[in-house]
Symmetry: C2
Subunit: 368 residues, 2 copies
């Protein structure tokens, strides 16, 4: 199955197209996070309008509530949430480690208690594939263990070996022919473990590869050095996904290093907290200086929010605790991420080599 077409490159950065059962995705691309079957505060209609091409949904959350079987009976996740474009589901592993209680890890899988009601559950490589097949996502991720950033070498080695064995089991448990499966490169902060993990995974028929376990507290320098070295070992002809990272400047760096896909809750979570991304840096809308500011949030932005509302109004909505604050801020922040990716794709296709340093400097400028 031909999944990925490389159209242009500029250094390690690349622009391409990823084919899925529900259509084509231009890369580099940011995937808005729809944790519980909704990108928080944003209608699917507005996601489409702002240029979202693929969403991420969290298997852990949907498995616990409302349940994957229920979603399957209702016609699958796309129909459930009324999103007809591609969806990537994670395996649930990350949330088991970040949200679940009483985790017990074994070769079989991971047992945990639901953060919702304390009920007991088991995720295995086999059942995460079944769950993702029931959800009907277009891209399924393998089950992996989260390695703490300060794990010692022996822990990281053993965990990475298990993740590789789990990856094989996931592929053997594959359910749907129309669902792409991505492997996940682990190895903690040890580059030799990362390299070996890449070699092992590349011998398996994955349609794409993710780099996981970064952005977990290791610091910016280490994040980017490990991401850049790892991506260099991955095959050119398959999409490369940097999981859960992150800030606009991190994504820019990672695009430059050769990654194609990104997801992060930052644009929507920040939006709800009143932190907004603009072409002049981050801005906290609650600040008193914006109370009588008639300018749009970002004069350089043409999103629905910036075309129609002032900073003063957005501050008012935030201070008054209005739902529309989350709605408008989320529309803007996601639009900002999508436009950043669009400019990256353009820069790569048109070989605008000066784009990268300029964009990087701008993103680092902070109003606060």
């Amino acid at each position: 199955m031909l999944t990925f077409t490389l159209d242009a490159s500029d250094g390690a950065a690349r622009a391409g197209r990823m084919e899925t059962a529900r259509g084509m995705v231009e890369t580099p691309m940011f995937m808005p996070v729809g944790t519980q079957g909704t990108v928080k505060a944003v209608l699917p209609r507005d996601l489409e309008e702002m240029g979202s091409q693929i969403l991420l949904a969290n298997t852990y959350h949907l498995y616990l509530r409302p349940g994957a079987e229920l979603i399957q009976k209702l016609g699958g996740l796309h129909r459930f949430m009324n999103w007809n474009g591609p969806i990537l589901t994670d395996s649930g592993g990350y949330q088991v480690f970040s949200l679940g209680a009483m985790r017990k890890l074994s070769e079989e899988g991971v047992r945990f208690q639901s953060h919702l009601d304390g009920s007991y559950h088991l995720l295995t490589p086999e059942n995460v594939m079944q769950i993702q097949a029931a959800l009907g996502s277009d891209i399924a991720m393998v089950l992996d263990e989260c390695i703490p950033h300060d794990a010692d070498r022996e822990y990281a080695r053993a965990s990475t070996d298990r993740t590789i064995r789990w990856a094989e089991r996931c592929l053997r448990a594959r359910v749907r022919a129309d669902q792409l499966v991505f492997g996940i490169v682990k190895g903690g902060m040890y580059t030799d473990l990362r390299e070996r993990c890449v070699q092992e995974l590349c011998s398996m028929p994955f349609e794409g590869f993710a780099v996981g376990g970064l952005g977990v507290g290791e610091g910016e320098a280490l994040l980017h050095s490990i991401a850049a070295s790892t991506v260099g070992w991955l095959p050119e002809d398959r999409p490369r996904y940097l999981m859960g990272v992150g800030r606009p400047e991190d994504i820019l760096n990672a695009v430059r290093a050769g990654f194609d896909l990104f997801d992060c809750v930052l644009p929507t979570r920040n939006a709800r907290n009143g932190t907004l991304f603009t072409s002049a840096g981050k801005l906290s809308i609650k600040r008193a200086e914006f109370a009588n500011d008639s300018r749009p949030l970002d004069p350089a932005c043409d999103c629905y929010c910036c075309r129609n509302f002032s900073r003063a109004y957005l501050r008012h909505l935030y201070m008054a605790g209005e739902i529309l604050s989350s709605v408008l801020n989320s529309l803007h922040n996601l639009y900002f991420y999508h436009r950043l990716m669009e400019r990256c794709r353009e820069a790569i296709r048109l070989e605008q080599s000066d784009f990268w340093s300029q964009a990087s400097a701008t993103l680092r400028a902070q109003l606060d």
Copy 2:
């Protein structure tokens, strides 16, 4: 100034058009409530799309936060909230009595403490006109005192007399020629006081009349009997507004009695609480029976919510505490109110006399 054109009538019910500085409003019409400069959880674009023709905004809330002067400096309320159609503002009186602390009523006006920060304020007939002029609404309401439903005759009489004196002062304090001013008929539960109040107000040059102080705990029978008798004394050639009432069946009754304009927080507040209006009666989306219900909320409804989402999804959003629950439920409930008004207008224009009893029976059918 010709404000109101009567196009058709069916018994006491009437269909017409009300002219404002920002265009025409078909009547009978429901006005969504935008308390703090936003109809909660709904974008102005979506209000327009669903057929909202005029909004109500609360002077009390906007005066306290962000302040009427600030809104004026920013170009007025329409620009602030990006709503280009007509806006009616109340005088703030109702919220002073329902939300403000330490009220002190005098002939001058009403002193109160802000529910937000305890600061002291004074509303007078003169300054509520100035505040509403600063907001720039298309219809301003006079200052009135809320009479408790169980007030004795002497209290109601004295309060009604003061409201009449305040109404005169409001007209004298009129600021903008492009802003219509509506008087408010009070009188508590005493029909003779209501009748006298109508007579007094009709001798003043108001562009429209509201009936206030109903739906405050007096019970359905008394509400409708007082509303019906009061509306009969009002002049035919000016719009008649029943303030703050209410449930779909109440509005239907009041349209039949001859009212033209309505507002209520019920559709949006119920939406946020998961209570939804349908052609088969009210429905509580949190009920377990909807967990696997693939049908739209209301199969007879063609709103964005009903065209695209199942009851199971809406229940999931509600149970998961997702913002999109409030967004979709609000879109649906407001659409329901607007379609009800549209069918009323049609029934009047086409003399579909059997509409009223059928609609009334349907609205009284309750699923819960």
